[in-house]
Symmetry: C2
Subunit: 337 residues, 2 copies
């Protein structure tokens, strides 16, 4: 746990000052239909409009920027997609070489985007262990450091700046947050959110897909518990275990974890598209799915912030998710009318 010493709100604030002007200050979106469904005032931070299409750009830029300042000439990253694309873009911005390790079944869009950003793409296996082994091997060969997708203090602080901006914007609007909801993969984003919310009284909730609930199980057990991730459309939320550093940060700071299923994620995806007019990836939509489930229980009449973490999704999946079920359409129309 010694690694957590010093990871405090000030780290996120410092990252935010450094990132100002280097990343998009994304808008905060609202919809009366979503407020009605949630029974709360819901503010969504549209990080799908971030450079690279996800909030991963924040952590990647912060971490790569520090490595560049320290004299490194290249970086290595592994992920299922968004973090690798973000590191590739961040490396190009700082003039560093980037090698990214993606699974052989990676979304073609993400492979294309990493290559378009000038990265060397290495495809390796389908599981995180294989990718980590390949990334470490490449690091040993080249001497270039690996930028972990979530178990890294600069990545956590960078991701936390999305939450910090949302907290600040809610205050500016005169509706300070009571609750902040963030999807959980390896836990970097939710750890950053806990740091950003520290001392504010805001309750932070994580959202995990059913069967990909390493964080929920870890919190219950008091120690990190790996899972065999179940299938889910939220491909970014399927690490087998929450990261060590994120877990150390969130274990005493988190209000709780909400589990959501693919139907709830799909419904949130459609609401975000049709009501807010922006495209979320399922992993990004999971935050709203969690807020809607939470709304039924705890969030009534309060202000709930949701980090809409990204928007990189395949066209075919969009088409599939838009085949709306009649029951759901009726519900939404009922609320809208």
């Amino acid at each position: 746990m010694s690694r957590t010493v010093g990871q405090v709100r000030a780290d996120v604030e410092e990252a935010a000052r450094w990132l100002a002007g280097r990343v998009v200050r994304t808008p905060v979106l609202r919809s009366p239909v979503i407020d009605d469904l949630a029974g709360a005032r819901v503010l969504l931070k549209a990080e799908n409009l971030q450079d690279g299409g996800s909030y991963k750009m924040r952590g990647a830029l912060r971490a790569v920027g520090r490595l560049a300042a320290a004299g490194h000439t290249g970086v290595i990253a592994q992920s299922t997609g968004n973090h690798a694309v973000a590191v590739a873009l961040a490396a190009r911005q700082h003039g560093l070489a980037a090698t990214v390790v993606l699974p052989v079944d990676a979304a073609p869009t993400k492979v294309d985007r990493a290559r378009a950003a000038g990265a060397r793409v290495v495809l390796a296996g389908t599981g995180v262990e294989e990718r980590v082994a390949v990334a470490n091997g490449l690091s040993d060969e080249s001497g270039h450091p690996v930028v972990d997708a979530y178990d890294h203090p600069d990545v956590i602080a960078g991701q936390g700046t999305a939450s910090l901006e949302l907290i600040e914007e809610a205050e500016r609007l005169g509706t300070p947050l009571d609750v902040l909801v963030v999807p959980v993969g390896g836990g970097g984003g939710v750890a950053g959110a806990c740091l950003a919310a520290a001392g504010t009284g805001i309750e932070v909730y994580g959202v995990e897909p059913a069967g990909c609930d390493s964080l929920a199980r870890s919190l219950a057990a008091g120690e990190r518990v790996p899972v065999t991730p179940a299938p889910t459309i939220a491909d970014g939320l399927r690490p087998s275990c929450v990261g060590e550093l994120p877990f150390a940060i969130v274990r005493d700071a988190l209000g709780g974890v909400v589990r959501v299923d693919d139907d709830e994620i799909g419904a949130a995806f459609r609401l975000i598209l049709m009501e807010l007019k922006v495209l979320a990836e399922p992993s990004g939509a999971a935050g709203l799915a969690g807020a809607l489930r939470l709304g039924a229980e705890a969030a009534r009449q309060r202000t709930v912030g949701v980090v809409l973490t990204g928007g990189n999704v395949e066209a075919a999946l969009v088409a599939r998710l838009m085949v709306q079920r009649p029951a759901e359409a009726a519900t939404v129309e009922g609320v809208a009318a």
Copy 2:
């Protein structure tokens, strides 16, 4: 032509000052993939993220605000959708009663939204003449004025504020616009764009769907020429004739009109969704379709602004448009890689 006297850039600037804080200052979005396809730097003003889901909110709020200040207690509007929804929302904001006349085949979403905003909805026929007759009858009965969707100086000035903000933002980014592209229905938006660009040297282009090209024909003829609108997915761009006041403003100010077909509009819709992560309605996507066509001819190496006018579209149409054609997918990947 006497109605045009006095409609100048200052009217748009005054509307912008009045609307500041009353409408969303929508973000300006960019994508390297779109820049590559256009052969130009393309800045898109995301008015799909405007209140009410379209830039029609600007003109409606400006016009209804002035009527409220003049003591009116209610307003009437007719349109195929977005203007009616915008007038309903604007009336509620000013505490006025609103009656909106929509076609019997109006998109259910738009009917729902007008009702949700508290308006009385009257369904009348399928053509603009029937709706105008009903709206005028309701106005005679009630004494409430009709807010025309485009043939109205306050509506034109209000719509022009979207272009004005885009022009200002491009300057702030250090990439002032060379070209400004706006979709054309009744011509209110493009007239507002011409006013906003007056004296700046920016060339303004209108975009019309093939077979709905009343403005192009009117410019060629030197007088307003009605058409029998051809079928198009861009349902907001199908008035039978460009408005009198818009035509008087644009006839000597417009750089030209670009005609686009439904395939080009569909491709632009997908680019906007997949690359910019926002949902455009086909009428809104038409602006980018026009810019891409223009890019091949005139816009190379320049900065092109596009007003992405709205995002109110049915879920079923989104699903249909996302069934991407393989040839197009190959092209986009080729550019991205």
